[in-house]
Symmetry: C2
Subunit: 142 residues, 2 copies
Protein backbone atom coordinates (compact mmCIF):
# COMPACT_ATOMS: atom_id res chain seq x y z
CA UNK A 1 0.00 0.00 0.00
CA UNK A 2 1.32 3.44 -0.92
CA UNK A 3 3.27 5.16 1.87
CA UNK A 4 2.53 8.63 3.22
CA UNK A 5 -0.82 8.70 1.49
CA UNK A 6 -4.33 9.53 2.33
CA UNK A 7 -5.50 6.20 3.68
CA UNK A 8 -9.07 7.50 3.77
CA UNK A 9 -9.26 7.53 -0.04
CA UNK A 10 -7.36 4.28 -0.28
CA UNK A 11 -9.73 2.44 2.06
CA UNK A 12 -12.75 3.78 0.15
CA UNK A 13 -11.28 2.48 -3.09
CA UNK A 14 -11.09 -0.94 -1.48
CA UNK A 15 -14.74 -0.79 -0.48
CA UNK A 16 -13.87 -0.43 3.20
CA UNK A 17 -15.28 2.44 5.20
CA UNK A 18 -12.46 4.65 6.46
CA UNK A 19 -13.26 4.47 10.15
CA UNK A 20 -10.80 5.99 12.61
CA UNK A 21 -9.78 2.48 13.72
CA UNK A 22 -8.92 1.45 10.17
CA UNK A 23 -7.12 4.65 9.25
CA UNK A 24 -4.96 4.38 12.36
CA UNK A 25 -4.19 0.75 11.61
CA UNK A 26 -3.20 1.59 8.04
CA UNK A 27 -0.88 4.30 9.31
CA UNK A 28 0.77 1.90 11.73
CA UNK A 29 1.06 -0.82 9.09
CA UNK A 30 1.88 1.00 5.86
CA UNK A 31 3.27 4.44 6.70
CA UNK A 32 6.88 3.26 6.83
CA UNK A 33 9.90 2.62 4.65
CA UNK A 34 10.31 -1.12 5.03
CA UNK A 35 7.85 -3.99 5.15
CA UNK A 36 7.72 -6.00 8.36
CA UNK A 37 6.31 -9.09 10.07
CA UNK A 38 4.00 -8.98 13.05
CA UNK A 39 1.63 -10.96 15.21
CA UNK A 40 -1.79 -9.61 16.18
CA UNK A 41 -0.41 -8.89 19.62
CA UNK A 42 2.59 -6.99 18.26
CA UNK A 43 0.16 -4.87 16.29
CA UNK A 44 -2.10 -4.16 19.25
CA UNK A 45 0.95 -3.01 21.18
CA UNK A 46 2.11 -0.76 18.31
CA UNK A 47 -1.33 0.79 18.04
CA UNK A 48 -1.70 1.50 21.73
CA UNK A 49 1.72 3.18 21.78
CA UNK A 50 0.65 5.59 19.04
CA UNK A 51 -2.92 6.16 20.17
CA UNK A 52 -4.83 7.19 23.27
CA UNK A 53 -8.09 5.39 22.62
CA UNK A 54 -7.62 1.68 22.24
CA UNK A 55 -8.98 -0.43 19.40
CA UNK A 56 -10.68 -3.62 20.48
CA UNK A 57 -8.79 -6.83 19.79
CA UNK A 58 -11.65 -8.16 17.66
CA UNK A 59 -11.49 -5.08 15.47
CA UNK A 60 -7.78 -5.56 14.97
CA UNK A 61 -8.50 -9.13 13.83
CA UNK A 62 -11.34 -7.95 11.61
CA UNK A 63 -9.24 -5.28 9.93
CA UNK A 64 -6.17 -7.47 9.50
CA UNK A 65 -8.34 -10.12 7.84
CA UNK A 66 -10.06 -7.50 5.68
CA UNK A 67 -6.69 -6.15 4.49
CA UNK A 68 -5.47 -9.71 3.95
CA UNK A 69 -8.48 -10.49 1.75
CA UNK A 70 -7.81 -7.31 -0.26
CA UNK A 71 -4.22 -8.45 -0.78
CA UNK A 72 -2.43 -5.89 1.39
CA UNK A 73 -1.35 -8.37 4.05
CA UNK A 74 -0.13 -11.94 3.87
CA UNK A 75 -0.36 -14.63 6.53
CA UNK A 76 2.80 -16.67 7.14
CA UNK A 77 2.84 -20.26 8.42
CA UNK A 78 5.08 -21.01 11.34
CA UNK A 79 5.20 -23.88 13.78
CA UNK A 80 3.83 -21.83 16.56
CA UNK A 81 0.79 -20.96 18.53
CA UNK A 82 0.06 -17.65 16.82
CA UNK A 83 -0.30 -16.32 13.30
CA UNK A 84 2.29 -14.07 11.73
CA UNK A 85 1.38 -11.46 9.15
CA UNK A 86 3.54 -9.74 6.58
CA UNK A 87 3.18 -6.34 4.95
CA UNK A 88 5.37 -7.70 2.15
CA UNK A 89 2.74 -9.37 -0.02
CA UNK A 90 5.08 -10.47 -2.81
CA UNK A 91 5.91 -14.14 -3.22
CA UNK A 92 8.95 -14.71 -1.04
CA UNK A 93 10.42 -17.22 1.37
CA UNK A 94 11.41 -16.90 5.01
CA UNK A 95 13.99 -17.64 7.60
CA UNK A 96 12.56 -18.23 11.05
CA UNK A 97 14.86 -17.70 13.99
CA UNK A 98 13.76 -20.20 16.60
CA UNK A 99 15.72 -18.41 19.33
CA UNK A 100 14.14 -14.98 18.90
CA UNK A 101 10.95 -16.14 17.11
CA UNK A 102 11.63 -13.57 14.40
CA UNK A 103 10.88 -13.88 10.71
CA UNK A 104 13.41 -12.66 8.15
CA UNK A 105 12.62 -12.22 4.46
CA UNK A 106 14.47 -14.29 1.92
CA UNK A 107 15.52 -12.25 -1.06
CA UNK A 108 14.64 -13.41 -4.57
CA UNK A 109 18.14 -14.71 -5.23
CA UNK A 110 18.70 -16.34 -1.84
CA UNK A 111 16.81 -19.41 -3.03
CA UNK A 112 16.51 -20.72 -6.59
CA UNK A 113 13.02 -21.11 -8.05
CA UNK A 114 11.37 -24.30 -6.79
CA UNK A 115 10.50 -26.79 -9.47
CA UNK A 116 7.47 -28.94 -8.58
CA UNK A 117 7.45 -32.15 -10.60
CA UNK A 118 4.31 -33.69 -9.13
CA UNK A 119 0.86 -32.35 -9.78
CA UNK A 120 -2.42 -33.17 -8.08
CA UNK A 121 -5.13 -33.87 -10.65
CA UNK A 122 -7.82 -31.22 -10.78
CA UNK A 123 -5.87 -28.92 -8.49
CA UNK A 124 -3.82 -25.88 -9.36
CA UNK A 125 -0.88 -24.55 -7.38
CA UNK A 126 -1.72 -21.39 -5.44
CA UNK A 127 1.60 -20.83 -3.71
CA UNK A 128 4.99 -22.40 -3.09
CA UNK A 129 6.68 -21.23 0.08
CA UNK A 130 9.90 -22.27 1.74
CA UNK A 131 10.46 -21.92 5.46
CA UNK A 132 14.05 -22.20 6.68
CA UNK A 133 14.31 -22.65 10.42
CA UNK A 134 17.52 -21.49 12.01
CA UNK A 135 18.82 -21.42 15.55
CA UNK A 136 21.92 -20.46 17.45
CA UNK A 137 25.00 -22.31 16.22
CA UNK A 138 26.46 -22.96 19.67
CA UNK A 139 23.39 -24.54 21.19
CA UNK A 140 24.71 -28.05 21.98
CA UNK A 141 28.46 -27.47 22.02
CA UNK A 142 31.08 -29.21 24.12
Amino acid sequence: MVKNRNFIEKLRELGLRPTKQRVKMCEVLFNREKTFHFTINDLVKMISEEMNEKISLATVYNTVHALEKKGYLKEISINSDKSYFDTNTSVHHHFYDEDTQELIDCDGNDIDPINIKKNITGKKINSVEVLVKVASDNQNQK
Copy 2:
Protein backbone atom coordinates in the same frame (compact mmCIF):
# COMPACT_ATOMS: atom_id res chain seq x y z
CA MET B 1 8.22 -46.40 15.23
CA VAL B 2 8.24 -50.13 14.55
CA LYS B 3 4.85 -51.52 13.59
CA ASN B 4 3.09 -54.41 15.36
CA ARG B 5 5.50 -54.24 18.21
CA ASN B 6 5.33 -54.24 21.93
CA PHE B 7 4.86 -50.56 22.57
CA ILE B 8 5.34 -51.15 26.28
CA GLU B 9 9.01 -51.98 25.78
CA LYS B 10 9.41 -49.27 23.21
CA LEU B 11 8.02 -46.56 25.49
CA ARG B 12 10.27 -47.72 28.32
CA GLU B 13 13.30 -47.46 26.03
CA LEU B 14 12.31 -43.85 25.39
CA GLY B 15 12.14 -43.14 29.10
CA LEU B 16 8.37 -42.80 29.03
CA ARG B 17 6.23 -44.87 31.38
CA PRO B 18 4.01 -47.22 29.42
CA THR B 19 0.68 -46.07 30.80
CA LYS B 20 -2.47 -47.44 29.21
CA GLN B 21 -3.15 -44.02 27.67
CA ARG B 22 0.25 -43.95 25.98
CA VAL B 23 0.17 -47.56 24.79
CA LYS B 24 -3.25 -47.01 23.23
CA MET B 25 -2.06 -43.83 21.55
CA CYS B 26 0.99 -45.59 20.15
CA GLU B 27 -1.23 -48.32 18.74
CA VAL B 28 -3.48 -45.78 17.06
CA LEU B 29 -0.54 -43.81 15.72
CA PHE B 30 2.06 -46.39 14.75
CA ASN B 31 0.34 -49.75 14.32
CA ARG B 32 -0.38 -49.21 10.61
CA GLU B 33 1.15 -49.62 7.20
CA LYS B 34 1.38 -46.02 6.04
CA THR B 35 2.31 -42.81 7.81
CA PHE B 36 -0.37 -40.14 8.07
CA HIS B 37 -1.16 -36.57 9.05
CA PHE B 38 -3.53 -35.61 11.83
CA THR B 39 -4.75 -32.82 14.06
CA ILE B 40 -5.16 -33.31 17.80
CA ASN B 41 -8.90 -33.49 17.26
CA ASP B 42 -8.58 -36.15 14.56
CA LEU B 43 -6.52 -38.17 17.00
CA VAL B 44 -8.99 -37.81 19.86
CA LYS B 45 -11.72 -39.04 17.51
CA MET B 46 -9.63 -42.03 16.38
CA ILE B 47 -8.88 -42.96 19.98
CA SER B 48 -12.47 -42.78 21.17
CA GLU B 49 -13.56 -44.98 18.26
CA GLU B 50 -11.10 -47.68 19.31
CA MET B 51 -11.52 -47.35 23.05
CA ASN B 52 -14.24 -47.31 25.67
CA GLU B 53 -12.58 -45.15 28.28
CA LYS B 54 -11.66 -41.78 26.96
CA ILE B 55 -8.27 -40.12 27.30
CA SER B 56 -8.35 -36.53 28.44
CA LEU B 57 -7.55 -33.95 25.81
CA ALA B 58 -4.67 -32.61 27.91
CA THR B 59 -3.13 -36.09 28.01
CA VAL B 60 -3.38 -36.37 24.24
CA TYR B 61 -1.50 -33.09 23.95
CA ASN B 62 1.06 -34.22 26.53
CA THR B 63 1.73 -37.51 24.78
CA VAL B 64 1.86 -36.02 21.29
CA HIS B 65 4.39 -33.48 22.47
CA ALA B 66 6.39 -36.16 24.31
CA LEU B 67 6.53 -38.31 21.17
CA GLU B 68 7.42 -35.22 19.13
CA LYS B 69 10.32 -34.44 21.44
CA LYS B 70 11.54 -38.04 21.13
CA GLY B 71 11.44 -37.68 17.35
CA TYR B 72 8.51 -39.99 16.58
CA LEU B 73 6.15 -37.21 15.49
CA LYS B 74 6.71 -34.04 13.52
CA GLU B 75 4.69 -30.84 13.62
CA ILE B 76 3.76 -29.32 10.24
CA SER B 77 3.17 -25.61 9.67
CA ILE B 78 0.00 -24.63 7.88
CA ASN B 79 -1.84 -21.35 7.62
CA SER B 80 -4.59 -22.49 9.83
CA ASP B 81 -6.00 -22.36 13.30
CA LYS B 82 -4.78 -25.78 14.40
CA SER B 83 -1.55 -27.76 14.38
CA TYR B 84 -0.98 -30.71 12.11
CA PHE B 85 1.22 -33.62 13.11
CA ASP B 86 2.91 -36.22 10.95
CA THR B 87 3.95 -39.79 11.74
CA ASN B 88 6.40 -39.46 8.84
CA THR B 89 9.35 -37.87 10.61
CA SER B 90 11.72 -37.84 7.65
CA VAL B 91 12.59 -34.53 5.99
CA HIS B 92 9.93 -34.06 3.32
CA HIS B 93 7.74 -31.40 1.78
CA HIS B 94 3.96 -31.09 1.56
CA PHE B 95 1.04 -30.26 -0.63
CA TYR B 96 -1.83 -28.68 1.26
CA ASP B 97 -5.26 -28.98 -0.32
CA GLU B 98 -7.07 -25.79 0.66
CA ASP B 99 -10.44 -27.27 -0.35
CA THR B 100 -10.31 -30.38 1.82
CA GLN B 101 -7.69 -29.09 4.31
CA GLU B 102 -5.69 -32.27 3.75
CA LEU B 103 -1.92 -32.65 3.74
CA ILE B 104 -0.23 -34.81 1.11
CA ASP B 105 3.40 -35.92 1.32
CA CYS B 106 5.81 -34.82 -1.35
CA ASP B 107 8.09 -37.60 -2.45
CA GLY B 108 11.85 -37.07 -2.48
CA ASN B 109 11.95 -36.60 -6.24
CA ASP B 110 8.86 -34.40 -6.53
CA ILE B 111 10.96 -31.37 -5.59
CA ASP B 112 14.68 -30.87 -6.20
CA PRO B 113 16.91 -30.17 -3.21
CA ILE B 114 16.62 -26.53 -2.12
CA ASN B 115 19.83 -24.56 -2.28
CA ILE B 116 20.02 -21.78 0.31
CA LYS B 117 22.53 -19.13 -0.72
CA LYS B 118 22.07 -16.77 2.21
CA ASN B 119 23.22 -17.56 5.71
CA ILE B 120 22.44 -15.83 8.97
CA THR B 121 25.62 -15.21 10.96
CA GLY B 122 25.86 -17.31 14.10
CA LYS B 123 22.84 -19.38 13.14
CA LYS B 124 22.68 -22.87 11.69
CA ILE B 125 19.91 -24.24 9.50
CA ASN B 126 17.66 -26.71 11.34
CA SER B 127 15.19 -27.45 8.58
CA VAL B 128 14.12 -26.43 5.09
CA GLU B 129 10.51 -27.17 4.29
CA VAL B 130 8.40 -26.37 1.26
CA LEU B 131 4.64 -25.99 1.47
CA VAL B 132 2.74 -26.10 -1.82
CA LYS B 133 -0.82 -24.88 -1.49
CA VAL B 134 -3.25 -26.23 -4.05
CA ALA B 135 -6.94 -25.72 -4.65
CA SER B 136 -9.62 -26.80 -7.09
CA ASP B 137 -8.78 -25.80 -10.66
CA ASN B 138 -12.31 -24.70 -11.56
CA GLN B 139 -12.81 -22.36 -8.61
CA ASN B 140 -13.34 -19.03 -10.40
CA GLN B 141 -14.31 -20.20 -13.86
CA LYS B 142 -16.63 -18.50 -16.34
